[in-house]
């Protein structure tokens, strides 16, 4: 049972490693951490070309080393492919509070006034995972985390 305790500890450490592009989310909230095993943390990239992937691996390495888990390896798996369905409910709430509309299959809502009267300004935003939207009711421009 020592190992179950250890993997739980590692997961707690990872819950405090922020995503470099959207620091309000942890790598666990974002679904980048797929599995914590006795000897390794398995992560998956969001988009194949996401430039944050290397930075994420580096911050996870540093957090593991700093918490006494230097023996844990980091493995990358691309299958099954990352999907926004893996963003936790807590992650979705944090996104909304941060001003980014969380991914939704039922249409986007403004993170400021919750109106559904929104329009796409640009399908590609400041990072591969976001699109640029505008709220027709309160006028707020905002990022939408794209369903993927």
């Amino acid at each position: 049972m020592v190992s179950a305790q250890a993997t739980h500890e590692v997961l707690e450490v990872l819950r405090h490693v922020p995503d470099p592009e959207i620091p309000v989310l942890s790598v666990v909230d974002l679904g980048i951490v797929r599995e914590v095993r006795d000897d390794a943390v398995v992560i998956t990239p969001t988009y194949t070309g996401c430039p944050a992937t290397l930075a994420i691996e580096k911050s996870i390495r540093e957090a593991l080393d700093a918490s006494g888990h230097s023996d844990m390896r980091i493995e990358t798996a691309i299958s099954p492919p990352w999907t926004t369905d893996w963003i936790s409910d807590e992650g979705r709430a944090k996104l909304r509070a941060y001003g980014i509309a969380p991914p939704s299959k039922h249409g986007a809502r403004c993170p400021q006034c919750d109106s559904a009267g929104v329009e796409e300004v640009s399908r590609f935003g400041s990072t591969p995972c976001k699109a640029l939207y505008r709220c027709r009711d309160c006028g707020e421009p905002f990022d939408l985390f794209k369903c993927h």
Binding site: T48, G49, C50, P51, S79, P80, S122, R123, P128
Partner: protein
Amino acid sequence: MQPINERALKLGDDSLILGQRLSEWCGHAPMLEVDLALANIALDLIGQATLFLGRAGDPDALAFRRDVLDFRNCLLVEQPNGDFAQTVARLFLFSNWQELMLRDLCSSDEFGDIARKSVKEVAYHARYASEWVVRLGDGTDESRGRMIAGLDWMWRFTPELFEGDAAPLRGEWDARIDAVLGDAGLDRPKDSRPILGGRKGHHSEHLGHLLTEMQFLQRAYPGATW
């Protein structure tokens, strides 16, 4: 020595060369949103290239230390950007093909993992390009004329996409292309003598110029890292 994985090279080189072409727009696009979009699409493609080329060897060595004759990309992706409409035409014709090709590849033992990840990204590229074809084709006389010229430039390189194993994709690709051209009020470009050879390493002059820029740093400072 093991023979190099030709299939991985074709898949990787298509994505790499189009990714490099699109990144040439960075900082030069007609508006900020387009700049962001093309840079993001280029990133996706270069990410895919890294994965595919990784199945053929060291992706950096393959990207930066091969000469023109060793590249296996199709001729379409190496064509010059031209104006924005010509860039849109190339992305439209290629991404619609790439999406169908990757969709079939999802069940492959060898490349299925990469295909299942990439196909989601490419579906987005195809939709983006298709929307621009409609916007430009159905826009002003100026935008319409440019869209027609862009499609005319790129069209002769499309038969190469359907060589060999990819032949069965032709019907569905035709239907997709025709539907978008219909929405844009554009005629299908006239077929001319197909230009082939990229898959065998017989490239147009344009690829050499692209490589001189892409490979400059590793040629001048071999092994340099960030």
